[in-house]
C-alpha cells in the first residue's frame, strides 16, 4: 500500500443502515439491571431514568436495529464514515516489514467533538426529543462524553446539563468551553445542587470529585427536578450505548475488506467499554460464530483502573452514590477511587455488561499498562503519524505497539487494528508532563481492590430476584 492510498474512505452510501446487537450471539447473557433489593428494575422504573426507546434497545434481542434516517444524516454531518488509516508512519518508526506486519487504525478523532462519543450522544438526544422530553442530564470525566452530549442535544434542540468531576473541570477548561459553545450548562461536581453532591461538597467545596459521584448527581438531578421532562443519559457501559457504537467497526470491517485484509489482532482502550465494544463487536461475532476462532481481541486498560484484568464479575452499583441501577459486570467496587491518570475516560470502576460477558467467555482478553509508557507511545504516535492522541487512545496505541514488537521478534505475520478513539488537543498537559519528566506511574495494590470488593455497601445478591 502506498501513502496516497493509506487513508481508506468509505462512500456515504456504504455507511451502515443498522446497529449490530451482539446480545443474541452471546453465550453468557447480560443480566438485567437491578434495584438494591435484587429485583430487576421494572420497565417503568428504567423508563423514569432513560428515554423509553433506549430502554427497549437495552433489552432487545433483535440482531439488527435500524438506524433512523435522521441519525444517519447526523452521522454524516459529524464526519462519518470516518477514515481507516494504514499506520505507515508508525510501522516505519517501529522498523516493521510492512509486508509482514501491518497496523491499521480507525479514526474516531475526526468527529466535531474529537472522539467516538457522538455516535451514541446524537442517538440518545434523538430518542429523547422523539419522546417529547425537554432535556438530558449527564456526567462527564475528562469531558469527551459531556462535549458529545452537548453537541447531540444542540442538534435536536434539547437542554443539556453536565456534572463534571471538578478536577477535570479545572484541568481541561477547553472542553468546558466546547460544552458551553453548544449551549450546555456545566456544573463542577461534587456540587451543592444535589443531596448526594452536598455530602461531599459541604466537607470540601473544592473536592476533586469522581465519575462515580458525578453520575450520582446527574441521576438525582434527572429524577427529582422535573422528572416528566428530563432523563438521565449515560455515555458508556449500557447495552444500547455499545449498540450505537457498532457503526465504528461495521465501517472499519468494510474498509479493511477494501484494503484486502482481515485483522489477526483487534485492540481498543477500555474505560466503560463503549469505544472498545463499538470497535470489536462485529469481530467478536465472527469469533463466536467460529468464522475467526483465533482472532485475538484485547482491551487495553490502565494499570490504575484494571477492572477487566483484576476486577470480579459480580453485581455492583454503577455509581458511588448508589443512585444508578445495579449491573452484573467486572468491577473494582463502586467505592473505588482511581488515581488521577490523564486518561480520565478510563477511570471507571466497572466494565460494560456485554464486554464483561465476552471476557467471561474468553472471547476477549485484557492487558494493563502503566501511565508513562502509554503516554510515551502516544508521543511516538504523534511523531510517527502526526496526530496527537487522547491519553485514553494512547492505551490502544501502546498495546498495538507491544503486539507489533513481539510479532517482529517472533518473525510472525500479523495484521493489527486498533481504534483511535479521540484526539488529545484538550489533554496536552499529559504530554507536557511527560516531556518535562513530571509524569507518574501508578500501581494499584491488590489489597486495595480486595478491600473495595469486601465493602459492606457492595450488593450481596448473586442472581436477580425474579420472584
Amino acid at each position: 500500500m502506498d501513502a496516497l492510498h493509506s487513508q481508506i474512505f468509505l462512500p456515504v452510501e456504504k455507511m451502515p443502515k443498522n446497529w449490530l446487537n451482539i446480545v443474541p450471539s452471546l453465550k453468557t447473557k447480560p443480566m438485567p439491571l437491578c434495584l438494591p433489593n435484587g429485583k430487576p428494575a421494572p420497565f417503568e422504573v428504567a423508563c423514569a431514568v432513560f428515554p423509553k426507546d433506549l430502554v427497549l434497545q437495552e433489552y432487545s434481542q433483535d440482531p439488527l436495529i435500524e438506524i433512523p434516517d435522521f441519525l444517519r444524516e447526523r452521522y454524516v454531518l459529524a464526519n462519518r464514515p470516518t477514515p481507516l488509516k494504514r499506520a505507515l508512519g508508525l510501522e516505519k518508526a517501529l522498523g516493521l516489514d510492512g509486508d509482514k506486519i501491518k497496523i491499521y487504525y480507525k479514526r474516531e478523532d475526526v468527529s466535531p467533538t474529537g472522539s467516538h462519543k457522538g455516535n451514541t450522544a446524537t442517538a440518545q438526544a434523538y430518542y429523547a426529543k422523539k419522546q417529547g422530553l425537554k432535556g438530558l442530564v449527564t456526567e462527564t470525566g475528562a469531558g469527551q462524553w459531556g462535549a458529545a452530549l452537548a453537541y447531540g442535544c444542540n442538534i435536536v434542540g434539547l437542554d443539556c446539563t453536565v456534572y463534571q468531576a471538578r478536577i477535570s473541570y479545572q484541568q481541561k477548561p477547553g472542553r468546558v468551553v466546547l460544552m458551553n459553545s453548544y449551549g450546555a450548562k456545566v456544573i463542577p461536581s461534587p456540587s451543592n445542587q444535589t443531596e448526594v453532591g452536598k455530602i461531599y461538597y459541604n466537607k470540601d467545596n473544592n473536592h476533586p470529585g469522581s465519575l462515580g459521584i458525578a453520575i450520582s448527581e446527574a441521576v438525582e438531578h434527572a429524577l427529582t427536578r422535573d422528572p416528566a421532562n428530563y432523563r438521565y443519559s449515560l455515555g458508556s457501559v449500557l447495552n444500547f450505548v455499545l449498540l450505537h457504537q457498532t457503526v465504528i467497526r461495521q465501517e472499519a470491517k468494510i474498509q479493511m475488506e477494501m484494503a484486502g485484509d482481515y485483522p489477526d489482532v483487534v485492540i481498543g482502550c477500555f474505560g466503560g467499554g463503549s469505544n472498545f465494544g463499538g470497535f470489536i463487536i462485529p469481530f467478536a461475532k465472527d469469533k463466536i460464530e467460529g468464522k475467526k476462532p483465533n482472532l485475538d481481541i484485547i482491551a487495553a486498560e490502565p494499570s490504575a483502573c484494571p477492572k477487566l484484568s483484576r476486577g470480579v464479575f459480580r453485581f455492583d452499583y454503577g455509581d458511588s452514590g448508589e443512585k444508578a441501577p445495579i449491573a452484573k459486570m467486572y468491577t473494582l467496587g463502586h467505592n473505588f477511587m482511581p488515581k488521577p491518570i490523564h486518561a480520565g475516560g478510563l477511570r471507571y470502576h466497572g466494565a460494560a455488561p456485554i464486554t464483561s460477558c465476552l471476557k467471561y467467555d474468553n472471547v476477549i482478553r485484557s492487558e494493563e499498562f502503566k501511565q508513562i509508557p502509554v503516554i510515551q507511545s502516544g508521543l511516538l504516535f504523534a511523531k510517527a503519524e502526526g496526530l496527537l492522541p487522547a491519553p485514553e487512545s494512547a492505551h490502544a496505541i501502546h498495546c498495538a505497539i507491544e503486539v507489533a514488537k513481539k510479532a517482529k521478534e517472533n518473525n510472525e505475520r500479523k495484521v493489527i487494528a486498533f481504534n483511535l478513539s479521540g484526539h488529545g488537543f484538550f489533554d496536552y498537559v499529559a504530554y507536557q508532563m511527560l516531556i518535562d519528566g513530571k509524569l507518574e506511574n501508578y500501581e494499584l495494590p491488590q489489597s486495595e481492590i480486595d478491600k473495595n470488593l469486601a465493602d459492606p455497601s457492595m450488593p450481596q445478591f448473586t442472581e436477580p430476584d425474579m420472584s
Copy 2:
C-alpha cells in the same frame, strides 16, 4: 442537496498535480524583494535566507509548478484532499432559503495540526531537506504556523526552532506542547538568544512580544548561528507560500463543480494572505481572464489590523527589527503593534505582495470587522455546524454571514464560499471570554496608522534601484 451528501469528498486521484502560479496572470506584478538600499536582493542573498528551490519559486513565471510526488503523498498523510462542506446547519440558523442562497466552506481544519499551514510547511521542509540542510528556523504568533512547520520538519527529519511571541506562548500552551511533540524547540520571544531579541528582553524579560519581533529573531538566528546548514522559513506573505496554498482552492473548485455550483462570492480571512491567497487564487484567475467578471472576492480583516482596508501600497520591511527583506505591499507600517485580538494569526502589519497587487487592481476587495461580532459569529457557527472555528477563521465566517443576510434582505440568489482555515480547540479562551462577557472590541484610529507610516524608519524608495 441532502445532509447525507453535504460533505463533498474528492478522490485522491483528483488531487492537484501542480501548484497554480498566478503571477504571470497579474496586471500589476509583485516587485522584487529589496534590501534597505533599495536594490533588489540578489539571488545569492535570498538563498542565504531561504532554501534555493523556494527562491526559484518566488520569482517563477511558470503558470504551473509541479508538486513533487513525495509531497503529494505527504499531503494525503496530512488528510488531503480536505472536504468541502455545504453549510446546511448555518443556512438553517440564518433562515436562508437553500434554493436561493447557498453557503459552502472548505475544511482546512481537518489537518493534523488543525490549519491550512501544513500545505506550505511540508513543502518548505521538503525543499530544505532536498538541499541537504540540517534545519529551519521560524517564528509564530498563535502557533498554527509553528505547529505546522514542526510537523513538516519532523516528517523529513530536520531540526526546527520556533520563536513564539511570548504572550501566545503563555496563553496557548497546547500549541507549544504540540510543537514539542513533533520535536521542535520553542523559544518565547523576545528572548536573550539573539541580538535583536535582547533589545526588548533586557528592558523587560516578560515582554509580550509580537510577530514582527519574532520574525527578526528567527531571521537573525538562521543567518548567524550555522548559516551553511540552516535557513529561515516564513509561513505567509511570500509568493511561494501562496503558491503552495493553491492546493486548497484547486481542490475546492473541482468539489464545487461536483456540487454543480460556481460561487458568486469567495471569502477568506486575511492575516498575511496565505489561506486567503490559497483559497481565492484560482478564482481570481478566472476573474482576471474575464470568465467571471462579476465574482466578488473578499478579504475579511480584523478592524484591529486592517492592512488591506486602510494600509498604503508601498515598500516596507517584513519585520519590526528590519532584518527581513523589504517588499512592496499594503502595510500599516512595520512598527505597528496591533492590539491583542484572539485572532493572533491576523496580527501582521503587511499583506502578501500577490494579494496586494490583486487589491490594487480591484480584483479583490476587503472588509474589516470588530472582534466581538466576529467571535459571536464563530459561536453561532459552532452551534449550527458543530465545529469550533479558529478566531482567525471566524472572520471569514462572519463575513459570509453578513453577505448571506444582505442577499436575503435583497431577495438575491447567491452562492457563497469561504475557507475554514482552522479549528479553535487551542483558542477556546476567546469563546470563554465572549460567553463570560469579557471580550473587547478594538478600534484602530487612522491617526495611529498615519503616524506609523510617517515614521522615518520606513523605507523611502518607491521603485527598486535597478542600477
